[in-house]
Amino acid sequence: MSLDMIQMVLVTVLTAATPLIIAALGELVVERAGVLNLGVEGMMVCGAALGFAAAVETNSTLLGALAGAGAGMGLAAVFGLLTVGLAANQVASGLALTILGLGLSGLVGAGYVGQKREPAPHLYVPGLSDLPGIGRLFFGQDAFVYAGLGLAAGIAWFLWRTRAGLILRAVGDDHAATHALGLPVRGVRFFAVLFGGACAGLAGSYLSLAYTPFWAPAMTAGRGWIALALVVFASWRPGRVVAGATLFGGATVLQLHAQAASIGLPGQLLSALPYVATILALVLLSLGRRRGGSLAPAALGRDFTPHR
């Protein structure tokens, strides 16, 4: 296998991983603040539909991506109002929003089914992008890929190096204690939910603007759920989210090649491979790490209503 072929495979792996990275990182921040947002899939698919529609109308990928993020954030605002503001059940609200999101996206996207668009432009740095073997991988991706990786680094820095990140983790660990210290539990949670929604929407718009540059109903195909699972199995750490998503992307590409080469295994089994491999790897990773305390944010999924 030539160096260029390896690079081609790696590029495909990274593109397959990017929507998961972005959506899972957003959900990671939400869950670190103690909120379980099961509406990721709905926010993602809305981002895909609205992002594509906006990009077609304005003929701008950037505006499309922004619209996608905005769509996710809008749905997240509803979710935040329900769960953070009114202390509604997070699981039920999240599931309802996924269903709502799937419906809304179908409505918005109805007029755009079958339309095609140029995929988001790739970076081109003269000289560097043409480097054999590594040029395309490091200097020839589209902006979403870089944004996803930058997001991972940014979130890790935010959570463990800034005061706001510390407060967010504290809110997710024990909202009663944090409230007793006078920190704004519900405000922090609401902003975290908005951020998570924007990430989910952005990840969705990546699908319709770059990954497969067209809109098809329910085109997220369960990636929102994978992102949710990734967060758990990555034990709420951004680095592991990236690793898990990359593994998932890798397995996806691998099984596609395997199916194409018809190696004699049933296609269904191969299609399940990425899911099985990701879960297995992340379970193994989180085994033996637990020495005490809790791996998950301790207040995850519990609602909070302060007295006043």
Binding site: R163, L166, A170, D173, A180, L181, G182, G293, R308
Partner: protein
């Protein structure tokens, strides 16, 4: 924010440092604070005394900006201030040490402290300040340890250090000794005296009269949300203070159990149990026997095997050998809880909420949970609701359990009322053996007296009662003989008349006689029980 007067006035300022006047706080129709007046001056340790539910915690939350009073005004050096949130209170120099620590378990010590420090403070600078303060006051902390790995005493140290780092003028301490071992409590008292010496004011909330009489020169006593008196606790007796708190003389517990003449009903024979968890204690070679009519008290500092002993007795953890636990001669070491209940045993665990009772379920449903083996509460697997409600009503009636409505959820009851209920539920079965862990933990004096009396009466009817407690006053009041659990070992039981608090206290600290548990094991149950060594009267 709060319209404070800025810097503190001179030390001889006659105006109180902080005042609260006409404070009323209502939750719906319930009045938690009813026109409370309180003045706190610099350089004093002011006690706020009262039963559970007297309104102490509400008042303290108002002073810390966590609750807003319905009526009334808080003043700082004579000027009215509005405490809109804890940050405003901290800016005025009010610090707080919470009873149920406001610490995030999965954050480190330094992170927990950084939550309330100024934004610009760097990590290294904070660690330095924590170390310097620890040096000054003898409050050592390891900044990088996660809180979940620390004992109750260490957690309180974090609270205190976090409070002191902001150089407060008033420190509010809510039941600070309720989770401490005697040694840790002594250390705390030294720190408090020192803080007072520095000219700070302290508001000391407690219902432990001995501590208040030792530390405080002034006390405000609350009952039912109102101030019922202020006094100098040093010139009062514990009994007169208790009378003020409760409103009537606390009923003395009467009648000792009949002299043990019955047959042996509960027997432990060389019971050993490996530690069931990371922070748990192994039991080693525990032997004891209790006759009908006898109350055996087991003393010990939290985390010395009480939870494990209770679990082995109740059957939550089966014993390695069937013969290690015997009820009326029957080997039950391998039997489960309900099988033991059918043999006439009953159990009251330490934690009311979550162990003895399911907080979200009604009292009648909670009755079904423990009594389905010993009372006709179900038929063909279906709950007989009417029978359960009738049984719950009998317990409620017999033990004067007060709650909202005829069949409230367990979690809505106050600690004392729920404890009366869970003890009463088991006593109502007229068990032959009763094992009860910390029967009056965190319970007000009136409820505690009632529970103790019920235990004595039960024993007088021929029951063998085993009481695990850290309250030596309680054990000396009700137990016929006392043994001490230390590091999983049980000392020989000594008749009450032949031992003293001092002797028991020495055993509690291990053979060395030093107060143990300075950095003792984390309480395995998570509910950190209090350790109380009575100061000899």
């Amino acid at each position: 924010m709060a319209g404070g007067t800025g810097s503190a006035g001179p030390a001889n300022d006659p105006r109180p440092l902080f005042g609260a006047y006409g404070i009323v706080k209502r939750f719906g129709t319930f009045t938690a604070n009813d026109h409370i007046d309180l003045e706190i001056h610099t350089g004093e340790i002011h006690a706020l005394l009262g039963e559970n539910g007297a309104g102490k915690s509400t008042l303290m939350k108002i002073l810390y900006g966590l609750l807003e009073p319905t009526e009334g005004v808080v003043t700082h050096r004579g000027a009215a201030v509005r405490l809109r949130n804890p940050e405003a209170a901290r800016r005025l120099g009010i610090g707080m040490v919470f009873q149920h620590f406001s610490l995030c378990e999965n954050l480190t010590v330094a992170e927990n402290i950084a939550l309330v420090m100024e934004r610009s403070l760097r990590r290294a600078a904070l660690a330095e300040r924590i170390a310097a303060l620890g040096e000054t006051y003898g409050l050592k902390l390891e900044p990088d340890r996660p809180v979940w790995s620390l004992s109750a005493g260490e957690r309180q140290r974090i609270e205190i250090v976090r409070c002191l780092l902001q150089d407060p003028k008033l420190v509010i301490l809510d039941e600070p000794t309720s989770v401490l071992t005697p040694g840790e409590a002594e250390l705390l008292f030294t720190v408090l005296e020192r803080l007072r010496g520095e000219g700070r004011a302290l508001l000391y909330i407690s219902h432990r009269l001995d501590e208040v009489r030792r530390l405080c020169a002034r006390a405000t006593i609350l009952r039912g949300g109102r101030v019922v008196g202020t006094c100098d606790p040093r010139s009062e007796t514990a009994a007169s203070l208790a009378a003020l708190m409760v409103g009537a003389q606390v009923r003395e517990v009467a009648a000792r159990p009949a002299a043990p003449g019955g047959d042996e009903r509960l027997r432990l024979e060389r019971l050993s149990l490996p530690a069931p968890g990371l922070h748990a204690t192994a039991l080693r070679d525990i032997s004891l026997g209790i006759r009908g009519g006898e109350i055996l008290g087991i003393a010990g500092v939290a985390g010395n095997g009480q939870a494990e002993l209770f679990a082995a007795l109740s059957g939550e953890i089966p014993a390695p050998e069937a013969g290690a636990v015997r009820i009326d001669g029957t080997s039950v070491g391998h039997l489960g809880i309900n099988a033991r209940r059918r043999l006439g045993a009953a159990f009251v665990p330490e934690e009311r909420n979550g162990h003895a009772a399911a907080p979200g379920l009604s009292l009648s449903e909670n009755v079904v949970l423990t009594r389905r083996a010993t009372a006709p509460l179900s038929r063909f697997g279906l709950v007989r609701r009417a029978a359960a409600q009738a049984l719950a009503a009998r317990v409620i009636d017999a033990f004067d359990v007060r709650g909202a409505g005829p069949d409230p959820a367990a979690g809505t009851l106050s600690g004392g009322n729920l404890q009366k209920f869970v003890v009463g539920r088991e006593i109502q079965a007229e068990p032959g053996i009763l094992v009860v862990d910390q029967p009056t933990w965190g319970v007000d004096a009136a409820a505690a007296a009632r529970i103790r009396q019920a235990l004595i009466d039960l024993a007088a009817r021929g029951c063998a009662v085993l009481v695990i407690s850290q309250d030596l006053d309680e054990l000396f009041e009700i137990a016929g003989s006392i043994a001490v659990l230390h590091a999983g070992h049980l000392s020989a039981a000594a008749p009450r008349a032949e031992t003293t608090r001092e002797a028991v206290g020495l055993l509690m600290g291990g053979s060395s006689g030093l107060p143990s548990g300075q950095d003792g094991p984390v309480d395995p149950t998570g509910a950190i029980a209090r350790a109380e060594i009575a100061h000899a009267p």
